[in-house]
Amino acid sequence: MFMKTFEEKWTAWVDDQLTGRELAEFEASLPDQAAALAEKNSARQLGTFLKEQLAAVPMGNADFFSHQLSERIVRDERAAAPARSDSPSWWTIPRLFWTGATSLAIFVVCAVMVINIRPTADHSQYLTQILNARVDPTLSPNATVSIFESKEDKVTVLWVDGLKSLPSEFASK
C-alpha cells in the first residue's frame, strides 16, 4: 500500500495495515512511541465502542417499510407509463427522415434507369414497321412484300422478295 501523508500512514498503522519496511519506517519516525501506542489503542477502543453502540439499530415495522416501498415503485411506474405510450413507438423523427430519403433515392434510381433504356445495336436503325404486304398467292406463292418506313430519315423502302413478275401497277414510272 503506497501512502504519502502522515494521516494516511497513521490510519493504516491504527488498522494494522502497515507491514514490513513501511511499518518500521513509520514507527521509527514517531517522536514518542509510547504515546503513539496509547493513541492507537484509544482509537481502536473507540472503534469497538462505536461498533457495540451503533451496530444494532432496530427498524420498527420492517415489513411495512417493504410494503410502502413496493406501493411507491408501482405508483411511480404507473405515473411514468402514460408518458411512454404518448411517444411514437417506431416513427421517430430520425426514422421518418431516413425513410423519406431512402424512398426518394429509390425513385431517382428507377427514373434514371427508365430514361437510359435505349434500343440495342442489333435492331434496325429504321425502327421499321410493316405497313403493308400484298402478294398474289396464285402467281407468286412464296413471294413476300414488305414496306419499311424510317420516320427519322423520312424514308420509305419497299422490299420485295420471291416475285416472279412485278404487277404492272407497281412498275416504276
Binding site: 461498533k51 417499510f65 417493504s66
Partner: protein, 203 residues
C-alpha cells in the same frame, strides 16, 4: 455481513435476484430489500439521528436503486453499489439541511482543521463516570459527537467502524480515492476521540 436473509432466501443467489430485477421483476427486488433494509436503515439513522428521516431516506435510496438497477454491471458487490446510492442520497440531504439551517451543525473547515495531525487526544475535564450513564445518554453523546462531523467524515467513520468495510469499498461507495478515505478517517477518529474519550474509556 449482517443481513436479514433466512436460509431459504440465501439459497437464491444475489446474482439471480439482480438478474430478475433487471428483467423488471419487482418480487426479486422486494427480496433484496428484505435482505438489506435493516442494515441500510441503521447506517442512515447513524448519520441523520432521526428515525423518520432515516426511514424516508432509506425509501428514496431503494427507489433510486430500483430505477437504476438496469445499469448495475456487477463490477462491485451489490452492497457496495447500494451503499453508493445511500451515501449520495444521505450526504446530499445533510448538505441541503445544512444550507437551510445556516451551517451550524457541522463545518469541516472550522472544526476538522482544528485537529493537529500529530496531536494526542486528552480526556475531557468533566469526565462522566459510566455507572451514572444510561444507554440513552451514551447514545445521545455519540449522536451529538457524530453530528459535529461533516457528512463525508460521518460516512467514512461509520462505514469503517460499524460496517467493517475495507478502505477500497468505502472509496467506491463515496466516489473518492483511498487516500482521501484514510485521511478523513484520521480526522474523524481524532475528533470523536476528543469528544467521547471519557465515555468509551469508562464503558
Amino acid at each position: 455481513m449482517h443481513t436479514e436473509a433466512t436460509p431459504a432466501q440465501a439459497d437464491v443467489s444475489e446474482f439471480d435476484l439482480i438478474k430478475r430485477c433487471q428483467a423488471g421483476e419487482t418480487a426479486a427486488f422486494d427480496e433484496l430489500v428484505t435482505r438489506y433494509r435493516t442494515r441500510i436503515f441503521g447506517m442512515i439513522y447513524n448519520m441523520v439521528h432521526n428515525e423518520q428521516d432515516a426511514w424516508d431516506l432509506a425509501q428514496d435510496s431503494f427507489v433510486k436503486a430500483w430505477k437504476s438497477i438496469g445499469r448495475f454491471q456487477g463490477k462491485s458487490s451489490f452492497y457496495t453499489w447500494m451503499y453508493r446510492i445511500v451515501m449520495n442520497v444521505t450526504i446530499d440531504w445533510l448538505r441541503k439541511k445544512q444550507v437551510k439551517g445556516g451551517g451550524t451543525e457541522f463545518d469541516d473547515a472550522v472544526q476538522l482543521k482544528e485537529v493537529d495531525p500529530a496531536s494526542k487526544t486528552l480526556p475531557r475535564a468533566e469526565a462522566m463516570p459510566h455507572e451514572h450513564m444510561e444507554h440513552g445518554e451514551i447514545r445521545a453523546r455519540i449522536d451529538k459527537a457524530i453530528s459535529q462531523l461533516s457528512p463525508e467524515h460521518r460516512a467514512v467513520v461509520l462505514m469503517k467502524e460499524t460496517e467493517d468495510m475495507q478502505y477500497h469499498e468505502i472509496a467506491e461507495s463515496l466516489g473518492c480515492s483511498i487516500g482521501t478515505v484514510m485521511s478523513r478517517l484520521f480526522y474523524a477518529r481524532k475528533k470523536l476521540q476528543n469528544l467521547l474519550r471519557d465515555v468509551y474509556e469508562n464503558v
